[in-house]
Amino acid sequence: MLRDVTIGQYLPGNSLLHRLDPRSKINGVLFFMISLFVINNMVGYWLMVISAVGMILLSRIPLKYFLKGIKPLLLIIILTVILQALMTPGEIIWQWKFLHVTKEGLIQALFMGTRLVLLVSITSLLTLTTTPIVLTEGIEKMLNPFKVIGVPAHELAMMMTIALRFIPTLIEETDKIMKAQAARGADFESGNLIKRVNALIPILVPLFLSALKRAEDLATAMEARGYHGGEGRTRLKELHFAGKDYGAFGMAVILLLAAIATRVLF
Protein backbone atom coordinates (compact mmCIF):
# COMPACT_ATOMS: atom_id res chain seq x y z
CA MET A 1 0.00 0.00 0.00
CA LEU A 2 2.58 2.55 1.09
CA ARG A 3 5.59 0.95 -0.51
CA ASP A 4 5.44 3.28 -3.52
CA VAL A 5 6.43 6.50 -1.74
CA THR A 6 9.23 8.10 -3.77
CA ILE A 7 10.51 10.90 -1.50
CA GLY A 8 14.23 10.45 -1.04
CA GLN A 9 14.09 7.18 -2.90
CA TYR A 10 17.40 5.65 -3.91
CA LEU A 11 17.69 3.55 -7.04
CA PRO A 12 20.69 1.20 -7.00
CA GLY A 13 22.98 1.53 -9.98
CA ASN A 14 26.57 1.85 -11.03
CA SER A 15 26.59 4.88 -13.30
CA LEU A 16 29.21 7.62 -13.05
CA LEU A 17 26.73 9.71 -11.05
CA HIS A 18 26.19 6.86 -8.60
CA ARG A 19 29.91 6.60 -8.00
CA LEU A 20 30.62 10.30 -7.48
CA ASP A 21 31.47 11.57 -4.01
CA PRO A 22 28.29 12.91 -2.35
CA ARG A 23 30.01 16.26 -1.79
CA SER A 24 30.52 16.68 -5.54
CA LYS A 25 26.90 15.87 -6.14
CA ILE A 26 25.57 18.24 -3.48
CA ASN A 27 27.91 20.91 -4.79
CA GLY A 28 26.79 20.21 -8.36
CA VAL A 29 23.12 20.53 -7.42
CA LEU A 30 23.89 23.79 -5.61
CA PHE A 31 25.70 25.24 -8.64
CA PHE A 32 22.93 24.03 -10.94
CA MET A 33 20.33 25.80 -8.83
CA ILE A 34 22.28 29.04 -8.72
CA SER A 35 22.73 28.87 -12.51
CA LEU A 36 19.01 28.24 -12.86
CA PHE A 37 18.31 31.58 -11.18
CA VAL A 38 21.08 33.44 -13.00
CA ILE A 39 19.79 32.78 -16.52
CA ASN A 40 17.13 35.06 -17.97
CA ASN A 41 16.83 34.27 -21.68
CA MET A 42 16.10 31.46 -24.15
CA VAL A 43 19.75 30.55 -24.71
CA GLY A 44 20.27 30.18 -20.98
CA TYR A 45 17.22 27.93 -20.62
CA TRP A 46 18.41 25.71 -23.45
CA LEU A 47 21.77 25.46 -21.71
CA MET A 48 20.13 24.31 -18.48
CA VAL A 49 17.68 21.91 -20.15
CA ILE A 50 20.44 20.27 -22.17
CA SER A 51 22.78 19.87 -19.19
CA ALA A 52 19.94 18.46 -17.05
CA VAL A 53 18.95 15.96 -19.76
CA GLY A 54 22.62 15.06 -20.15
CA MET A 55 22.95 14.28 -16.45
CA ILE A 56 19.73 12.28 -16.41
CA LEU A 57 20.97 10.20 -19.34
CA LEU A 58 24.30 9.76 -17.58
CA SER A 59 22.56 8.40 -14.47
CA ARG A 60 20.78 5.73 -16.58
CA ILE A 61 17.68 6.15 -14.43
CA PRO A 62 14.37 5.66 -16.29
CA LEU A 63 12.53 8.92 -16.96
CA LYS A 64 9.40 7.74 -15.16
CA TYR A 65 11.12 8.16 -11.78
CA PHE A 66 11.57 11.86 -12.47
CA LEU A 67 7.96 12.19 -13.62
CA LYS A 68 6.89 10.52 -10.37
CA GLY A 69 8.91 13.12 -8.45
CA ILE A 70 7.23 15.99 -10.30
CA LYS A 71 3.72 14.61 -9.85
CA PRO A 72 3.10 15.77 -6.26
CA LEU A 73 4.26 19.30 -7.20
CA LEU A 74 2.21 19.46 -10.38
CA LEU A 75 -0.49 21.64 -8.81
CA ILE A 76 2.03 24.23 -7.62
CA ILE A 77 3.78 24.26 -10.99
CA ILE A 78 0.53 24.71 -12.92
CA LEU A 79 -0.62 27.46 -10.54
CA THR A 80 2.68 29.33 -10.94
CA VAL A 81 2.51 29.04 -14.71
CA ILE A 82 -1.06 30.37 -14.84
CA LEU A 83 -0.34 33.27 -12.47
CA GLN A 84 2.76 34.23 -14.45
CA ALA A 85 0.79 34.18 -17.70
CA LEU A 86 -1.98 36.36 -16.29
CA MET A 87 -0.08 38.81 -14.13
CA THR A 88 2.80 39.98 -16.34
CA PRO A 89 2.16 43.33 -18.01
CA GLY A 90 3.06 43.80 -21.70
CA GLU A 91 1.70 43.20 -25.22
CA ILE A 92 -1.81 41.78 -24.84
CA ILE A 93 -2.59 38.77 -27.09
CA TRP A 94 -5.77 37.42 -25.42
CA GLN A 95 -8.36 39.09 -23.26
CA TRP A 96 -11.53 38.09 -21.44
CA LYS A 97 -13.21 40.61 -19.14
CA PHE A 98 -10.51 41.66 -16.66
CA LEU A 99 -8.21 38.69 -17.48
CA HIS A 100 -5.53 39.18 -20.09
CA VAL A 101 -2.61 37.11 -21.29
CA THR A 102 0.46 38.94 -22.59
CA LYS A 103 3.27 37.76 -24.82
CA GLU A 104 5.79 38.52 -22.07
CA GLY A 105 3.55 36.66 -19.63
CA LEU A 106 3.55 33.52 -21.77
CA ILE A 107 7.32 33.57 -22.06
CA GLN A 108 7.68 34.16 -18.32
CA ALA A 109 5.25 31.32 -17.61
CA LEU A 110 7.23 28.96 -19.83
CA PHE A 111 10.48 29.96 -18.12
CA MET A 112 9.01 29.59 -14.64
CA GLY A 113 7.55 26.17 -15.47
CA THR A 114 10.85 24.94 -16.89
CA ARG A 115 12.70 26.30 -13.89
CA LEU A 116 10.51 24.44 -11.40
CA VAL A 117 10.55 21.17 -13.35
CA LEU A 118 14.36 21.32 -13.61
CA LEU A 119 14.67 22.15 -9.92
CA VAL A 120 12.63 19.13 -8.89
CA SER A 121 14.29 16.81 -11.42
CA ILE A 122 17.80 17.73 -10.35
CA THR A 123 17.12 17.23 -6.65
CA SER A 124 15.44 13.91 -7.48
CA LEU A 125 18.56 13.01 -9.42
CA LEU A 126 20.63 13.62 -6.29
CA THR A 127 18.51 11.38 -4.05
CA LEU A 128 18.00 8.74 -6.74
CA THR A 129 21.74 8.25 -7.20
CA THR A 130 22.89 8.66 -3.58
CA THR A 131 22.01 6.52 -0.58
CA PRO A 132 20.63 8.62 2.28
CA ILE A 133 23.45 7.56 4.60
CA VAL A 134 26.15 8.70 2.18
CA LEU A 135 24.21 11.88 1.53
CA THR A 136 24.09 12.88 5.20
CA GLU A 137 27.74 12.01 5.53
CA GLY A 138 28.47 14.42 2.70
CA ILE A 139 26.36 17.10 4.37
CA GLU A 140 28.19 16.59 7.65
CA LYS A 141 31.56 16.94 5.95
CA MET A 142 30.42 20.09 4.15
CA LEU A 143 29.06 21.62 7.36
CA ASN A 144 32.22 20.85 9.33
CA PRO A 145 33.91 24.22 8.65
CA PHE A 146 30.90 25.97 10.21
CA LYS A 147 31.50 24.22 13.54
CA VAL A 148 33.61 27.23 14.57
CA ILE A 149 30.52 29.42 14.58
CA GLY A 150 28.57 26.83 16.60
CA VAL A 151 26.79 24.79 13.94
CA PRO A 152 26.33 21.29 15.44
CA ALA A 153 27.29 19.55 12.18
CA HIS A 154 27.61 16.03 13.56
CA GLU A 155 24.41 16.19 15.60
CA LEU A 156 22.43 17.54 12.64
CA ALA A 157 23.78 14.81 10.39
CA MET A 158 23.08 12.13 13.00
CA MET A 159 19.51 13.36 13.40
CA MET A 160 19.03 13.28 9.64
CA THR A 161 20.56 9.83 9.38
CA ILE A 162 18.27 8.49 12.09
CA ALA A 163 15.21 10.18 10.61
CA LEU A 164 15.98 8.83 7.14
CA ARG A 165 16.82 5.41 8.55
CA PHE A 166 13.42 5.18 10.20
CA ILE A 167 11.29 6.33 7.27
CA PRO A 168 11.14 2.86 5.70
CA THR A 169 10.72 1.25 9.12
CA LEU A 170 7.79 3.49 9.94
CA ILE A 171 6.27 2.98 6.50
CA GLU A 172 6.53 -0.76 6.99
CA GLU A 173 5.05 -0.44 10.46
CA THR A 174 2.16 1.68 9.13
CA ASP A 175 1.60 -0.85 6.37
CA LYS A 176 1.46 -3.65 8.91
CA ILE A 177 -0.92 -1.83 11.24
CA MET A 178 -3.16 -0.82 8.32
CA LYS A 179 -3.32 -4.43 7.20
CA ALA A 180 -4.03 -5.67 10.70
CA GLN A 181 -6.87 -3.17 11.14
CA ALA A 182 -8.15 -3.89 7.61
CA ALA A 183 -8.27 -7.56 8.58
CA ARG A 184 -10.56 -6.48 11.41
CA GLY A 185 -12.83 -4.81 8.88
CA ALA A 186 -11.57 -1.22 9.20
CA ASP A 187 -12.43 0.92 6.17
CA PHE A 188 -10.06 3.79 5.34
CA GLU A 189 -11.44 4.72 1.96
CA SER A 190 -15.13 5.52 2.22
CA GLY A 191 -17.28 7.90 4.23
CA ASN A 192 -17.14 11.64 4.81
CA LEU A 193 -14.16 13.60 6.13
CA ILE A 194 -14.97 13.12 9.83
CA LYS A 195 -15.42 9.38 9.31
CA ARG A 196 -12.11 9.15 7.51
CA VAL A 197 -10.24 11.11 10.17
CA ASN A 198 -11.77 8.82 12.78
CA ALA A 199 -10.63 5.83 10.76
CA LEU A 200 -7.04 7.03 11.26
CA ILE A 201 -7.14 6.64 15.06
CA PRO A 202 -6.70 2.84 14.96
CA ILE A 203 -3.56 3.44 12.87
CA LEU A 204 -2.08 6.46 14.63
CA VAL A 205 -2.31 5.26 18.24
CA PRO A 206 -0.34 2.03 17.67
CA LEU A 207 2.05 3.84 15.32
CA PHE A 208 2.94 6.57 17.85
CA LEU A 209 3.30 4.02 20.61
CA SER A 210 5.75 1.95 18.61
CA ALA A 211 7.66 5.00 17.35
CA LEU A 212 8.18 6.29 20.90
CA LYS A 213 9.20 2.84 22.08
CA ARG A 214 11.63 2.55 19.19
CA ALA A 215 13.17 5.96 19.91
CA GLU A 216 13.72 5.01 23.53
CA ASP A 217 15.23 1.64 22.61
CA LEU A 218 17.51 3.26 20.05
CA ALA A 219 18.77 5.84 22.55
CA THR A 220 19.53 3.09 25.07
CA ALA A 221 21.23 0.94 22.45
CA MET A 222 23.37 3.88 21.27
CA GLU A 223 24.44 4.72 24.80
CA ALA A 224 25.13 1.07 25.59
CA ARG A 225 27.52 1.04 22.65
CA GLY A 226 29.34 4.09 23.95
CA TYR A 227 27.92 6.78 21.71
CA HIS A 228 28.85 10.19 23.09
CA GLY A 229 28.48 12.54 20.13
CA GLY A 230 30.79 13.35 17.26
CA GLU A 231 33.98 14.06 19.21
CA GLY A 232 36.76 11.70 18.14
CA ARG A 233 34.43 9.50 16.13
CA THR A 234 35.94 7.66 13.16
CA ARG A 235 34.22 6.19 10.13
CA LEU A 236 34.07 2.74 8.61
CA LYS A 237 34.02 4.15 5.10
CA GLU A 238 35.89 7.42 4.59
CA LEU A 239 34.81 9.63 1.72
CA HIS A 240 37.46 10.03 -0.96
CA PHE A 241 37.66 12.86 -3.44
CA ALA A 242 38.83 11.19 -6.66
CA GLY A 243 39.76 12.50 -10.12
CA LYS A 244 36.18 12.29 -11.35
CA ASP A 245 35.10 14.49 -8.44
CA TYR A 246 37.48 17.26 -9.46
CA GLY A 247 36.09 16.81 -12.98
CA ALA A 248 32.52 17.15 -11.67
CA PHE A 249 33.51 20.26 -9.71
CA GLY A 250 35.08 21.73 -12.85
CA MET A 251 31.92 21.01 -14.85
CA ALA A 252 29.78 22.69 -12.21
CA VAL A 253 31.96 25.82 -12.30
CA ILE A 254 31.87 25.85 -16.13
CA LEU A 255 28.07 25.55 -16.04
CA LEU A 256 27.78 28.54 -13.71
CA LEU A 257 30.18 30.61 -15.83
CA ALA A 258 28.26 29.65 -18.99
CA ALA A 259 25.02 30.67 -17.32
CA ILE A 260 26.50 34.07 -16.42
CA ALA A 261 27.82 34.38 -19.99
CA THR A 262 24.36 33.78 -21.52
CA ARG A 263 23.02 36.57 -19.36
CA VAL A 264 25.74 39.01 -20.31
CA LEU A 265 26.10 38.08 -24.00
CA PHE A 266 22.51 37.60 -25.20
Binding site: L11, G13, A180, A182, G185, P202, P206, L209
Partner: protein, 293 residues
Amino acid sequence: MPLEVKNVEYTYSPNTPNASVALKGVDLTIDEGEFVGIIGHTGSGKSTLVQLLCGLMEPSEGQILIDGVDINNKETPKDIRKKLRLQVGMVFQYPEHQLFEETVLKDICFGPKNLGFNEEEAKKLAKDAMKKVGLPLKYAEESPFDLSGGQKRRVAIAGVLAMKPKYLILDEPTAGLDPQGREEILAQVQQMQKELGITIILVSHSMDDVARFADRIIVMNKGEKYLEGTPREIFAHDEELISLGLGIPQVTQILKRLQKEGWAVRTDIVELDAAKEEILKAWRARKGGNNHA
Protein backbone atom coordinates in the same frame (compact mmCIF):
# COMPACT_ATOMS: atom_id res chain seq x y z
CA MET B 1 -16.60 -25.10 1.52
CA PRO B 2 -12.84 -24.96 1.14
CA LEU B 3 -10.31 -22.21 0.80
CA GLU B 4 -8.50 -22.67 -2.51
CA VAL B 5 -5.29 -21.23 -3.86
CA LYS B 6 -4.90 -21.70 -7.61
CA ASN B 7 -1.54 -21.24 -9.29
CA VAL B 8 -0.80 -18.07 -7.33
CA GLU B 9 2.22 -15.86 -7.94
CA TYR B 10 3.19 -12.70 -6.11
CA THR B 11 5.90 -10.15 -6.85
CA TYR B 12 6.78 -7.22 -4.58
CA SER B 13 7.50 -3.87 -6.33
CA PRO B 14 6.97 -5.32 -9.82
CA ASN B 15 8.71 -3.67 -12.81
CA THR B 16 11.38 -1.97 -10.68
CA PRO B 17 14.98 -2.95 -9.97
CA ASN B 18 13.82 -3.82 -6.43
CA ALA B 19 11.29 -6.38 -7.69
CA SER B 20 11.34 -9.62 -5.75
CA VAL B 21 9.29 -12.73 -6.43
CA ALA B 22 7.71 -13.93 -3.17
CA LEU B 23 5.49 -16.70 -4.49
CA LYS B 24 5.48 -18.75 -7.67
CA GLY B 25 2.91 -21.25 -8.84
CA VAL B 26 1.41 -22.16 -5.47
CA ASP B 27 -1.60 -24.51 -5.46
CA LEU B 28 -3.38 -25.65 -2.34
CA THR B 29 -6.74 -26.41 -0.81
CA ILE B 30 -7.68 -25.99 2.82
CA ASP B 31 -10.84 -27.80 3.88
CA GLU B 32 -13.28 -26.61 6.50
CA GLY B 33 -12.50 -27.78 10.02
CA GLU B 34 -8.87 -28.64 9.28
CA PHE B 35 -5.85 -27.64 11.34
CA VAL B 36 -3.17 -26.80 8.79
CA GLY B 37 0.39 -25.86 9.65
CA ILE B 38 2.48 -23.78 7.25
CA ILE B 39 6.20 -23.91 7.93
CA GLY B 40 9.08 -22.34 6.12
CA HIS B 41 12.26 -20.41 6.61
CA THR B 42 12.29 -16.60 6.81
CA GLY B 43 11.58 -15.32 3.30
CA SER B 44 10.00 -18.56 2.12
CA GLY B 45 6.79 -16.74 1.23
CA LYS B 46 4.62 -18.04 4.05
CA SER B 47 3.58 -14.61 5.34
CA THR B 48 2.86 -13.41 1.80
CA LEU B 49 0.72 -16.50 1.20
CA VAL B 50 -1.47 -15.95 4.25
CA GLN B 51 -1.93 -12.25 3.48
CA LEU B 52 -3.19 -13.24 0.05
CA LEU B 53 -5.52 -15.78 1.69
CA CYS B 54 -7.32 -13.11 3.68
CA GLY B 55 -7.51 -10.70 0.76
CA LEU B 56 -5.16 -8.01 2.09
CA MET B 57 -3.12 -8.19 -1.10
CA GLU B 58 -4.03 -9.31 -4.57
CA PRO B 59 -2.00 -12.02 -6.27
CA SER B 60 -0.02 -10.94 -9.35
CA GLU B 61 -1.20 -14.13 -11.06
CA GLY B 62 -3.70 -16.84 -10.18
CA GLN B 63 -6.77 -16.93 -7.97
CA ILE B 64 -7.80 -17.21 -4.34
CA LEU B 65 -11.21 -18.83 -3.95
CA ILE B 66 -13.30 -18.76 -0.78
CA ASP B 67 -16.33 -21.06 -1.04
CA GLY B 68 -15.71 -21.20 -4.77
CA VAL B 69 -15.80 -17.41 -5.29
CA ASP B 70 -12.73 -15.52 -6.52
CA ILE B 71 -12.23 -12.83 -3.86
CA ASN B 72 -10.28 -10.60 -6.23
CA ASN B 73 -12.67 -10.76 -9.17
CA LYS B 74 -13.80 -7.18 -9.79
CA GLU B 75 -17.06 -8.40 -11.36
CA THR B 76 -18.29 -9.70 -8.02
CA PRO B 77 -19.94 -6.85 -6.04
CA LYS B 78 -17.56 -5.18 -3.58
CA ASP B 79 -19.64 -5.84 -0.45
CA ILE B 80 -19.92 -9.56 -1.24
CA ARG B 81 -16.14 -9.75 -1.66
CA LYS B 82 -15.64 -7.90 1.61
CA LYS B 83 -17.99 -10.28 3.43
CA LEU B 84 -16.13 -13.28 2.02
CA ARG B 85 -12.79 -11.79 2.99
CA LEU B 86 -13.91 -11.19 6.56
CA GLN B 87 -14.73 -14.89 6.92
CA VAL B 88 -10.99 -15.32 7.06
CA GLY B 89 -9.68 -13.90 10.33
CA MET B 90 -6.04 -13.01 10.48
CA VAL B 91 -3.94 -12.72 13.62
CA PHE B 92 -0.68 -11.03 12.63
CA GLN B 93 2.73 -11.50 14.18
CA TYR B 94 2.87 -9.55 17.45
CA PRO B 95 -0.85 -8.74 17.19
CA GLU B 96 -0.68 -6.74 20.42
CA HIS B 97 0.90 -3.94 18.37
CA GLN B 98 -2.48 -3.21 16.79
CA LEU B 99 -4.33 -2.43 20.05
CA PHE B 100 -5.53 1.17 20.26
CA GLU B 101 -8.67 1.57 22.35
CA GLU B 102 -9.03 2.80 25.92
CA THR B 103 -10.46 -0.43 27.26
CA VAL B 104 -10.03 -4.10 26.41
CA LEU B 105 -13.73 -4.51 25.67
CA LYS B 106 -13.83 -1.53 23.29
CA ASP B 107 -10.83 -2.85 21.41
CA ILE B 108 -12.36 -6.28 20.93
CA CYS B 109 -15.62 -4.61 19.81
CA PHE B 110 -13.80 -2.85 16.94
CA GLY B 111 -14.10 -5.80 14.53
CA PRO B 112 -17.73 -6.72 15.21
CA LYS B 113 -18.72 -3.03 14.90
CA ASN B 114 -17.01 -2.84 11.52
CA LEU B 115 -19.10 -5.83 10.51
CA GLY B 116 -22.22 -3.77 11.29
CA PHE B 117 -23.21 -5.17 14.68
CA ASN B 118 -24.72 -2.67 17.13
CA GLU B 119 -23.19 -1.77 20.51
CA GLU B 120 -25.06 -4.48 22.45
CA GLU B 121 -24.35 -7.30 20.00
CA ALA B 122 -20.71 -6.25 19.66
CA LYS B 123 -20.25 -6.32 23.45
CA LYS B 124 -21.81 -9.76 23.64
CA LEU B 125 -19.53 -11.07 20.88
CA ALA B 126 -16.54 -9.45 22.57
CA LYS B 127 -17.30 -11.06 25.93
CA ASP B 128 -17.76 -14.46 24.24
CA ALA B 129 -14.41 -14.01 22.52
CA MET B 130 -12.75 -13.11 25.83
CA LYS B 131 -13.98 -16.39 27.32
CA LYS B 132 -12.73 -18.36 24.31
CA VAL B 133 -9.20 -17.02 24.65
CA GLY B 134 -9.23 -17.44 28.43
CA LEU B 135 -9.28 -13.77 29.41
CA PRO B 136 -11.07 -13.16 32.72
CA LEU B 137 -13.95 -10.70 32.25
CA LYS B 138 -12.55 -8.51 35.04
CA TYR B 139 -10.09 -7.14 32.47
CA ALA B 140 -12.92 -5.85 30.24
CA GLU B 141 -12.79 -2.26 31.52
CA GLU B 142 -9.01 -2.04 31.91
CA SER B 143 -6.65 -0.37 29.46
CA PRO B 144 -5.12 -2.97 27.14
CA PHE B 145 -1.75 -1.21 27.56
CA ASP B 146 -1.64 -2.06 31.27
CA LEU B 147 -1.77 -5.81 30.65
CA SER B 148 1.16 -8.23 30.39
CA GLY B 149 2.52 -9.32 26.99
CA GLY B 150 0.67 -12.64 26.99
CA GLN B 151 -2.61 -11.03 28.06
CA LYS B 152 -2.26 -8.31 25.39
CA ARG B 153 -1.87 -11.03 22.79
CA ARG B 154 -5.04 -12.70 24.01
CA VAL B 155 -6.89 -9.40 23.67
CA ALA B 156 -5.67 -9.09 20.08
CA ILE B 157 -6.65 -12.68 19.24
CA ALA B 158 -10.05 -12.11 20.86
CA GLY B 159 -10.42 -9.02 18.65
CA VAL B 160 -10.23 -11.24 15.58
CA LEU B 161 -12.21 -14.11 17.08
CA ALA B 162 -15.11 -11.79 17.98
CA MET B 163 -15.75 -11.42 14.25
CA LYS B 164 -16.72 -15.09 14.13
CA PRO B 165 -14.40 -16.09 11.29
CA LYS B 166 -14.82 -19.48 9.61
CA TYR B 167 -11.09 -19.62 8.95
CA LEU B 168 -8.52 -18.32 11.40
CA ILE B 169 -4.96 -17.64 10.30
CA LEU B 170 -2.37 -17.23 13.05
CA ASP B 171 1.05 -15.92 11.98
CA GLU B 172 3.59 -16.98 14.62
CA PRO B 173 1.12 -16.61 17.48
CA THR B 174 3.65 -17.69 20.09
CA ALA B 175 6.59 -15.50 19.07
CA GLY B 176 8.14 -13.76 22.06
CA LEU B 177 6.06 -15.61 24.68
CA ASP B 178 7.41 -17.69 27.56
CA PRO B 179 6.96 -21.49 27.41
CA GLN B 180 3.86 -21.42 29.59
CA GLY B 181 2.28 -18.68 27.48
CA ARG B 182 3.03 -20.67 24.32
CA GLU B 183 1.36 -23.78 25.69
CA GLU B 184 -1.74 -21.91 26.77
CA ILE B 185 -2.22 -20.06 23.51
CA LEU B 186 -1.69 -23.15 21.38
CA ALA B 187 -3.99 -25.28 23.57
CA GLN B 188 -6.69 -22.65 23.19
CA VAL B 189 -6.22 -22.51 19.45
CA GLN B 190 -6.66 -26.27 19.27
CA GLN B 191 -9.76 -26.02 21.41
CA MET B 192 -11.23 -23.48 18.97
CA GLN B 193 -10.76 -25.97 16.17
CA LYS B 194 -12.10 -28.98 18.07
CA GLU B 195 -15.03 -27.30 19.83
CA LEU B 196 -16.03 -24.44 17.57
CA GLY B 197 -15.13 -26.06 14.27
CA ILE B 198 -13.01 -23.10 13.14
CA THR B 199 -10.51 -23.94 10.43
CA ILE B 200 -7.05 -23.10 11.74
CA ILE B 201 -4.06 -22.14 9.64
CA LEU B 202 -0.99 -21.91 11.85
CA VAL B 203 2.10 -20.27 10.40
CA SER B 204 5.24 -21.05 12.33
CA HIS B 205 8.82 -22.08 12.12
CA SER B 206 8.63 -24.10 15.29
CA MET B 207 8.56 -27.73 14.17
CA ASP B 208 7.45 -28.92 17.58
CA ASP B 209 4.32 -26.74 17.67
CA VAL B 210 3.24 -27.57 14.16
CA ALA B 211 3.93 -31.29 14.55
CA ARG B 212 1.83 -31.54 17.67
CA PHE B 213 -1.25 -29.69 16.54
CA ALA B 214 -1.59 -29.76 12.75
CA ASP B 215 -3.50 -32.41 10.81
CA ARG B 216 -1.64 -31.44 7.69
CA ILE B 217 1.58 -29.55 7.08
CA ILE B 218 2.62 -27.43 4.13
CA VAL B 219 6.32 -26.72 3.80
CA MET B 220 7.22 -23.56 1.89
CA ASN B 221 10.63 -22.93 0.38
CA LYS B 222 11.75 -20.02 -1.80
CA GLY B 223 8.20 -19.07 -2.72
CA GLU B 224 7.13 -22.57 -3.68
CA LYS B 225 5.17 -25.32 -2.01
CA TYR B 226 7.93 -27.79 -1.22
CA LEU B 227 6.15 -30.57 0.66
CA GLU B 228 2.63 -31.30 1.79
CA GLY B 229 1.28 -34.07 4.00
CA THR B 230 0.55 -35.31 7.52
CA PRO B 231 3.20 -34.55 10.15
CA ARG B 232 4.48 -38.13 9.98
CA GLU B 233 4.85 -37.98 6.21
CA ILE B 234 6.56 -34.62 6.37
CA PHE B 235 9.07 -35.47 9.05
CA ALA B 236 10.10 -38.64 7.25
CA HIS B 237 11.92 -36.19 4.94
CA ASP B 238 14.21 -35.22 7.79
CA GLU B 239 17.37 -34.73 5.76
CA GLU B 240 15.66 -32.45 3.23
CA LEU B 241 14.10 -30.42 6.03
CA ILE B 242 17.45 -30.01 7.76
CA SER B 243 19.06 -28.89 4.50
CA LEU B 244 16.29 -26.27 4.23
CA GLY B 245 17.29 -25.04 7.67
CA LEU B 246 14.03 -26.21 9.24
CA GLY B 247 14.88 -29.31 11.23
CA ILE B 248 12.51 -31.87 12.71
CA PRO B 249 10.69 -32.07 16.07
CA GLN B 250 12.89 -32.87 19.06
CA VAL B 251 11.13 -36.19 19.82
CA THR B 252 11.66 -37.35 16.25
CA GLN B 253 15.31 -36.39 16.55
CA ILE B 254 15.69 -38.52 19.67
CA LEU B 255 14.05 -41.52 18.02
CA LYS B 256 16.27 -41.20 14.94
CA ARG B 257 19.32 -41.08 17.19
CA LEU B 258 18.18 -44.16 19.11
CA GLN B 259 17.63 -46.06 15.89
CA LYS B 260 21.12 -45.15 14.78
CA GLU B 261 22.46 -46.58 18.05
CA GLY B 262 20.80 -49.87 17.21
CA TRP B 263 17.48 -49.55 19.06
CA ALA B 264 14.40 -51.05 17.42
CA VAL B 265 12.19 -47.91 17.44
CA ARG B 266 9.93 -46.34 14.84
CA THR B 267 11.05 -42.89 13.75
CA ASP B 268 7.83 -41.53 12.24
CA ILE B 269 6.50 -40.38 15.61
CA VAL B 270 6.03 -36.68 16.31
CA GLU B 271 4.07 -36.56 19.59
CA LEU B 272 5.79 -36.66 22.96
CA ASP B 273 3.47 -39.26 24.54
CA ALA B 274 3.63 -41.64 21.59
CA ALA B 275 7.41 -41.33 21.57
CA LYS B 276 7.57 -42.15 25.27
CA GLU B 277 5.50 -45.31 24.70
CA GLU B 278 7.67 -46.30 21.77
CA ILE B 279 10.89 -45.90 23.74
CA LEU B 280 9.48 -47.76 26.75
CA LYS B 281 8.38 -50.60 24.47
CA ALA B 282 11.80 -50.85 22.91
CA TRP B 283 13.48 -50.64 26.31
CA ARG B 284 11.33 -53.46 27.77
CA ALA B 285 11.98 -55.57 24.68
CA ARG B 286 15.70 -55.02 25.18
CA LYS B 287 15.56 -55.90 28.86
CA GLY B 288 13.46 -58.97 28.07
CA GLY B 289 15.97 -60.02 25.42
CA ASN B 290 18.85 -59.60 27.87
CA ASN B 291 17.10 -61.74 30.48
CA HIS B 292 16.81 -64.57 28.01
CA ALA B 293 20.44 -64.37 27.08
